[in-house]
Structure formats: C-alpha cells, structure tokens
C-alpha cells in the first residue's frame, strides 16, 4: 500500500498543493471555506477547460500559444451570435464549438501538412486572429447579452444552504468542465487516437512505423483543442455576461504554466489528466492564497514565478533521481 502510494507520478505536486494549502489556511482561515472553494472553481473553470486541450497538444510534443486569441475570437463570435442571431443555448454552443474547431483545424493543418513548428505556426495564427478581432471590435466591450442567456449562466447545479440564508451552489458552467474532462479522458484512454497521441509524442517515427498516422492525429488534436476552447468561450461568456476582447491578453502563458505544473512534458509523450487538474488547482490556489494573505500585488508575480520554477525543479530532480536508480539496477 505504502509503496503503491509512493509510485503515483503526481505525488510531488500533490504534496506541494497540500503544503501550500496548509500555509494559506493557517494565514487566513477564510481559505478553507466552501464559499472560497466555489469561488476558485467558478473563476478558474475556463482555465481548467482550456488546459485539457493544451494537455493533448503538449502530449503530441506541440504547443499552442494562440489559445488566448482563439478564445477571444470565439467569445466575440458567440456574443455576436447571441445578440444578432439567436439566444438559443444549443445554437450558441454549436456556433462557439464550430468556430473554435475551425480555428483549431487551421492550426492543425499548418502544423501537420506544412510542417511548420507548432510554436511558430500558432504564433502566426495568434497575431492574425487577435489582430482581426481587435480590428473588427476596435477593442471595445460587447454588452447587451440577452437575458435568457444570462439567466442560464446564473443557474446552479447543486445548492448548499448556508447559515445566513444565502445559498451557495456549484455553478452550471461546471458541466462544461465535466464534459471537457470526460471527453479528454475518453479520447486519451479509450480510443486508438489516444494511444496514437502518446505514441507520436514519445517517438514520432516509431509511431508512424506502428501504423499510426501522425498527420491526422495532430490535425485532430488541434481541432479538438479548438472544440474545447469553444466550450470554454460559452462558459466564460455566461459567467462574465459580456465580451471583453482584451480579457485574455497573456492567458496562453497561464494555460501552459498550469499544464506544465501538472507534470506534462513540453517534449511530448508525458502527462496526465489528473496531473493537469492538480496543476491547474495549484495555480489557482496560489493566486487565490496570495490575495487572501494580503500579499501586495507586486509580490504576487515574484511568488508565482518562483513557485513555477521551484516546483518544476523539484519534479526534475525527482525524475533524475529515479532515472539514476534505474540505471544502477541495470548495471547490477
């Protein structure tokens, strides 16, 4: 039992999460409350949904820096569709998911068919998409989302009664996260494509020889990521009740950082859904904790930066140690 527990890959990061949570709750008991947890959940749903797509991309050895501009574009399209076409929920989700998938498909084609390195291709699409969105919207907020959609966004899945008569609840947007996680889990664990994703991330040539079609898998991965970004955009719009074309500036770095904190390797082939979710939680808890601990905003970036480097370094030394032990066994 003990050894089995120690073998969990995510153990170091789980321990870091626990230690940090304890430090924060000692400093401010308000951290360990249901209200705060629901708050963290609601404000980081979008990050969590998008991290699932990024995880899949990074498993293939790719990276996508265009996520922030894609979600901005999808949110603007969704907002426009809500205001000018229909406030029907299913139609809205369809529009969002379709536009996200198309943009993802475009990235996938550039990377798989034209063999442009992922970071460069998505850098290009990022400046194209964001430039177009900002040109069309002129950077101004879109307000006037129909009431029907706003009411949907206010719904709660499960409510918990609290002492003072107010009711806390899990936001309806949690469903989007659930769908994203389950879909990612299903693809990675239960389909041939999922095996292919890990295989081409581990070694592209061997994967190809085994009969996987890397090009198709890569196109699928980016399209699926776009699909998830579509879901994230609907969740975001229903939470914020308006569309701000500048809301996601620099968000791609947060998504990448969260996935990487969760133990995914940027070189591909290594990373798990559980790890990624813990990475996202760690990222959110740190941000939330720094506010609760009344740490001046200027210090927050220093702390976040150091924690990113620190936890990856710990992870790295851990990996090195296990590798060294492995070789020692081989020699004997």
């Amino acid at each position: 039992m003990k050894t089995k527990l120690l073998k969990i890959k995510e153990l170091p990061i789980i321990l870091i999460l626990i230690v940090i949570s304890i430090i924060i709750s000692v400093a401010n008991p308000a951290f360990m409350t249901l209200e705060n947890f629901l708050d963290i959940l609601k404000s980081n749903l979008v990050l969590a949904i998008m991290s699932m797509g990024m995880l899949m991309v990074m498993l293939t050895g790719g990276i996508d820096v265009s996520v922030s501009s894609v979600i901005t574009a999808v949110a603007v399209i969704t907002g426009y569709s809500l205001m000018h076409w229909s406030s029907n929920l299913l139609f809205t989700i369809l529009v969002a998911v379709l536009s996200g998938t198309v943009m993802g498909l475009f990235n996938g084609l550039l990377i798989a068919k034209l063999k442009i390195p992922p970071i460069v291709a998505t850098l290009g699409t990022m400046s194209v998409i964001l430039g177009l969105v900002l040109y069309i919207t002129n950077g101004t907020w879109m307000t006037g989302i129909p009431e029907k959609f706003i009411d949907f966004g206010r719904k709660k899945l499960i409510t918990f009664p609290t002492g003072d008569g107010k009711a806390l609840g899990i936001p309806i947007q949690f469903l989007f996260l659930l769908v994203a996680v389950l879909a990612t889990w299903f693809i990675l664990r239960k389909t041939v494509i999922g095996r292919g994703i890990y295989a081409i991330g581990g070694n592209r040539d061997s994967a190809e020889r085994m009969g996987f079609k890397p090009d198709r898998i890569i196109i699928f991965v980016y399209a699926f990521e776009g699909f998830l970004i579509g879901l994230a955009a609907v969740a975001h719009t229903s939470i914020m009740r308006q569309v701000d074309p500048n809301a996601f500036l620099g968000f791609e770095m947060q998504v990448i950082a969260a996935v990487v904190l969760g133990g995914a390797s940027v070189l591909g082939g290594y990373g798990s859904i559980l790890g990624t979710l813990i990475g996202v939680s760690l990222f959110c808890v740190i941000n939330n904790g720094l506010i609760l601990m009344h740490i001046p905003t200027f210090w927050q970036k220093i702390v976040v930066g150091l924690i990113i480097i620190g936890s990856i370094s710990i992870d790295m030394t851990q990996k090195k140690r296990t590798e060294r032990n492995k070789t020692r066994v081989d020699v004997e």
């Binding site: 390195p117 970071i119 460069v120 400046s127 194209v128 964001l130 040109y135 200027f298 970036k301 990113i308």
Partner: protein, 333 residues
Amino acid sequence: MWSRRSMKPELKRRLKSKEAVLFLIFVVIFVFMSILSPTRFLSLYNLQSMAYQLPEFGILALSMMIVIITGGINLSVTYTATLAMIIGGFAMSHMFAGGSSAGLSVLVGIILMLAGSLACGAFNGYVIAYIGVTPMLATLGAMTFFEGISLQVTRGGAISGFPIEFIKIGNTAVLGIPVPMIIFLFVLATVYLFLERSRMGATLYMIGSNPKVTRYSGINVRKNLFITYLIASLLAGIAGILMASRYNSAKESYGSSYLLQAVSAAVLGGTSIAGGEGKVIGTVIAVLIIQVISSGLNIIGLNRYLTNVVMGLILIVVLTINFLTREKQFRNN
C-alpha cells in the same frame, strides 16, 4: 549577360540559399513600400527613425537566436532587458539626484544594467543547464519572476530623471549614423564572429542538434549552455540600455511586444526552432523585413491591429514557401 553556364557553382548555390531568397523578399517589400508612399517612406526622417528603432529589436532577436540555436528559447528576454534597465536606472537616477556627477552615475548605471542582465542570465542558465528544466518552462517562470521584481522596484510606474548624458546614447548620431545603429553593428559583428567563426559557437550548434552526442564527445554541455544564457542575457541588457536611453525612462512593460517578434525574426531568418541551425545574416534580414513592414504600414496609415495580421500572415507565408521549396528539392533528389 549572365548566362547560366558562366555562373560559378558556388555563386549559384549562394543565390539559391535561404538568405538570398529572404533578402530578395526584403528588397521587394522595401520597393513596394517606397512605391506606396514615396514621399514619406523614403524620407530621410523615416529612414533615420527606423535606424533608431531597429537596433534594440535587432539585438533582442540576435539574443533569442543564440538561445534557439542551442535548442532552447528565452521567453524572459524582454523582461531581462527591462529588469536590467530598472536596476541600473534606479541607481543612476538616485545617484544623480543625490548630487553625484553625471558621468559617474551614468557609468554606475550602465555597469549595473549589464550586471543585472548577467544575473538574470545566470538564474536562467543555472535552472536550465544545471537543474535541467526545459528552457521554455524555466524562462516562462523567470518571465513572471523578473516582471515581479521590476514591479516591486518601480511600483508599476516608470523610473525617470536620468542624466542627459545617458539619454544621448540612444538619441544622437555620429556622422549621420545613429549611435544605437553603431552599437548594433558592433554587436552584430561580435555575435557573427562568436557563433560562426569560433570554436564555442560551433559547440552551440552541436548542442542544438544533439545534446547527448555532444556530451558523449567530451564537451561540457552544461557549462556551454550556462554561458549561452549569460551571453544572450547580456545582449538583452544592451538592448535594455538602448531602450531606457531612447525612452528616457525605465518601465517593466517596455518592449514586451518584442518577445514574439524576436522569435518570429529568428525563425523567419531560417533558424530552426528545434536547434542546431541558423545564420546571423538570416536573422538580420528578417529583422530588417519586420522593421520595414511595421514602419511602412504605420506610415501608410494602416490600422495597427491589421499590421499584426499582416505580420502573422507573412510569417505563415514565408514558412509555407520554405516548406514548398524544401519539398521540391527533396523530390528532385
């Protein structure tokens, strides 16, 4: 006049090289911009203002290129530049306000700026080379970290009150050539000699194409990587000095748009993002292209958001052309 047969094979090869194609693209764009706006694009004023803007971007692109050649990337490059300029600028303006002579404060300021950038480089280099963290992640964390320290010093504002002698560095010309341009040419020559004409430069290419084999061939990869990040950060520090001097102040957000542009310039110039490949001249031509496009589109009054769209499209189109030519060569062979 130039029949195909009389061309020497060496010359022919050179004319077909990536850099030659890139230079041709540069010429076409330059001519195109000149035709679009002959009076303003070709004006002495515009050419000079481009010559003032280009060096800081060019040096950052070269810094990025060195790191990419070793198979890494430095996302903290612009924050290295700004942290360096803030540390040095803080000391310089305080010394100057405290009654020290202008010359001494400028000297101390510049030394601290260079030292600050070296410290950033040592931090990145240690985490990447000795702890073994992937460059993208290490520098991603460092980016936030450096930004945080900068904000801690400036409290979100800008540091100003530099002696006029410091401001002159970025704003004067000698014999009509802006001082930043002279510094850029000097840096360019040094980087060229270092990368393409020195033993250590060759080592960096080897590390970039295969670190494991390089290590087994008896080369201290860690030490070389560490020095790479030191050098790249020193270049960022020099760019920081130019920016602080040109803007007459120091702020953490200066030049943040240069980050992705620097990666674009290196890649457009033919540097392989996977490492082991890339030429200084290619990066320089790419820098020229990006500068001419951004200045040119600005002059003809194109919306600045659409300028970003054009930049992105050019990046994608050039890489597509690269892919197609490679494919053609592959098929011919």
